[in-house]
């Protein structure tokens, strides 16, 4: 492995979403940063995305190029040698779904803090007031968390939270059901009961690209059963939710996620976050976290 600033082998060998495919154009060289390494990308004449690392001149010889996968509307790359493919989101391929790139936003926080906030329901009434939650309905009911050994991911199921505008058709609130997956140390996928089809769920995913240990770019992908709303409105709704989380995330101290169990105070509602912190510890991740001293 060449001399990257990031020396966390686990982080180096992961896949990362870098840009929405709709924003990568032939003839244009895009620039970004991954794990403190400047990278550039374009679409070649064959129509494939290529990406390369550089040391200041994005127009340098792109060879050797970095590995690239096109998944879920984004191109993914890695500075190392990832084992296997990007994790699956089977719903993405279903014919009747609308897959939307909601936006990519910069946030001054570590990737794991970002993921942990995404897993959290208790903040809905306070941060997403009157949208995803409303006082006094603040209870986080018991839910299940497991770490799937086979797929090496965290799964939180039977998560229910009271929402003021649960269904467009009713003016009263109701419990909405969620399932959360953490299939990648810096990515999470959420399934939310669909107002249109009781048996199926809408999918909202975040793919976090760490610029460095305390600054990230978050790519938000939606895969919905919605037939009524315009893409634009769905996108703007998602951005509103995201914009509400931002000041919270940027006011967390320390910005890196502390893995020492005595750094912060978990409650039962934080079961998924506890599992996530343990899972990161077990993987030996050091990037974007404060490892436990012991």
């Amino acid at each position: 492995m060449s001399n990257f600033i990031c020396n966390d082998p686990v982080a180096l060998n992961l896949w990362y979403a870098i840009s929405a495919l709709e924003e990568v154009h032939q003839g244009d060289v895009g620039q970004s940063v991954l794990l403190e390494q400047p990278i550039a990308y374009t679409r070649n004449e064959a129509g494939n995305v290529i990406a390369w690392a550089h040391e200041g001149d994005p127009n340098c010889d792109p060879n050797p190029t970095l590995p690239v996968k096109e998944r879920f509307g984004y191109f993914w790359t890695s500075l190392g040698t990832p084992e296997g493919d990007v994790f699956p989101i089977p719903e993405y391929g279903e014919a009747d779904r609308r897959n939307i790139h909601a936006a990519s936003f910069g946030v001054n926080v570590s990737a794991p803090r970002m993921v942990e906030n995404f897993l959290d329901m208790g903040h809905f009434p306070y941060v997403h007031t009157d949208i995803l939650g409303a006082e006094p309905h603040t209870e986080v009911k018991d839910y299940f968390v497991e770490v799937s050994e086979e797929r090496d991911e965290i799964l939180a199921t039977n998560c229910k939270f009271w929402q003021p505008m649960a269904a467009a058709a009713s003016d009263g609130g109701a419990d909405v059901e969620y399932i959360y997956r953490v299939p990648h140390p810096y990515c999470s996928v959420l399934y939310k009961s669909s107002p249109l089809d009781e048996a199926r769920m809408d999918v909202i995913a975040i793919f976090v690209q760490p610029f460095n240990q305390e600054q990230v770019r978050v790519h938000m992908m939606l895969s919905l059963l919605d037939e009524a709303n315009e893409d634009r409105n769905i996108r703007l709704f998602q951005q509103t939710i995201f914009g509400q989380d931002k000041p919270i995330l940027e006011n967390q101290h320390p910005k890196r996620l502390p893995l020492d169990p005595r750094a912060e105070t978990p409650i039962r509602a934080d079961k998924s976050a506890i599992a996530y912190r343990r899972w990161l510890s077990d993987k030996g991740i050091t990037y974007g976290v404060i490892p436990s001293a012991a």
């Binding site: 942990e116 208790g122 903040h123 009434p125 306070y126 941060v127 006082e135 006094p136 309905h137 603040t138 209870e139 986080v140 000041p247 919270i248 006011n251 967390q252 101290h253 320390p254 502390p258 020492d260 169990p261 005595r262 750094a263 912060e264 105070t265 978990p266 409650i267 039962r268 509602a269 934080d270 079961k271 506890i274």
Partner: protein, 574 residues
Amino acid sequence: MTTDLQRNWYPIASSSDLPKRHVYQAQLLGREFAVWRADDGNVNVWENRCLHRGVRLSIGINDGHELKCQYHGWRYANRTAGCTYIPAHPADAPARTICNNTYPTQEAYGLVWTGEEATGDVPALDGFADATVLRPIPLNATTDMVSEALVGYKWNESCLGFANADGSVTVSDSNGVSIRFFIQPTDSHRSVIRGIVNSSLSGDARKDALKRHSWLLQELRDQVEAAASQKEMPAPYEPVIARVAEDLVNIPAIREDGPAADLRVTVAEKEMTADDILKVRFESIKGGLPTFQPGAHIDVHLQNGLIRQYSLTNGPGETDHYTIGVKRDPNSRGGSVAIHDDVKKGDVLAISAPRNNFPLRRDAVHTILIAGGIGVTPMIAMARALNVQGLSFEFHYFVQGESHIAFSQEISEFENAISYHMGLSPEETGKKLGEVLSEPGHARHVYVCGPGPMLDATRKTAADQGWADACVHFEYFKNENEVDDSGSFEIDLARSALTLTVNDGQSILEVLRDNGINMPSSCELGACGTCQCGVIEGDVLHQDVYLTDEEKAANKSIMTCVSRAKSKRLILDI
């Protein structure tokens, strides 16, 4: 390691920086503080992060009594910084030990002072008793550079400055005007100049002086910053964040009873608040009092050896004292009479830390509080909390007559919510309860405290009218049921791997104690819920009034002070 820097007192704000209902953000030696003044005037200096997820408390809300975190709505009490409510788990009383890091605070010379490890008093400053506080000037430079520049500070040609041993700078002119400048080390390369003038100015003279010094100090700031920008700045301080208590690492169980701390308090006030009802105010002899939640009670150890439980009536943020109500009951075993007759103002008593077996949910769309007689005390604490948070509630106070209404001053805070029901017969009370409880509904909750027959009537009426057991919360003062302590059985302690025998005439609690197992208890009459224990196997003969009928039927827990086994053996989760 504590350094001199950490032992010093530093001004971190002007008193005028802390209006009510505001949270001020400060930093000292790299550590950030959330600083807020409660409605009672007390200034709190806390670490600027919520213990839960590290979010700055300076973006939270000061409601005058408590500071609420913006992320999950956790509430922390004035003074103690103890967490009083976790909205994600509305039915739980938070563990008392969830407590933010607080720092010593003093307000003097128009400034608010703190220091990580400061002790004693802030330094005495002769001649500054009526000081005028200058507008503070933050700047990007080390304290050394600032100090050097301030020694040369001049508002007229006669000014002479010198550095004091404590790091401050004094500048005086020939007219007797003297300014003491303190330099707050925000971080290794950022500071705030805080000056006080040795005279009390007012009106235009004050404004002119403040403007002139604001201007001159900003000129000085610009020069120092220009010089600082040419220099290599030291690395920022890296303050160590204290780890949370070890017992908070694991997710707390549903019930959380802390250790019974023995506190010594003085009887600060003792006065009649109604016929036969005494209001007693306890204040701490040394240090603060622990955090309480509405519904909590304390054990009071009386001079005659008796221990009695009394509910706190305090409102949120009222953390500098505890107030209880005691009804004189000539038929009691001597506790209330002793307090009425023997306890005097100024006496020192031992009390336990507050325990909460009667937690108040705040996720109800509407709350109905029902009090009978002296049962009003926990209801007052609850009503005050609901009122401060602006939550919907109504309060029904069943009382013999006007002269029996206790705590009328506290009740005046929520006058619009109260209904008095005076001098009703048992039949009339039952009818009234029927009206009060006529509308069960989603997220509506009832809390009731009063004499046993009234509690029984409320529970029955509520059940008849369709209220779910889980929505009707009650606290008994005593268990008026006859307790059967006959027969022997075995208890297996699953976690301690012990088998013990409970003999005829003994309680489980006594047997546990005799074998060195520490089980917290309070009333020991099956009323308060303190000695609750999980049951893994075996049939329980419930004799308490604490558990609901549903809970009793579930057979998952037992009150070890009065309840026994129906089966030959019980396996307990201890």
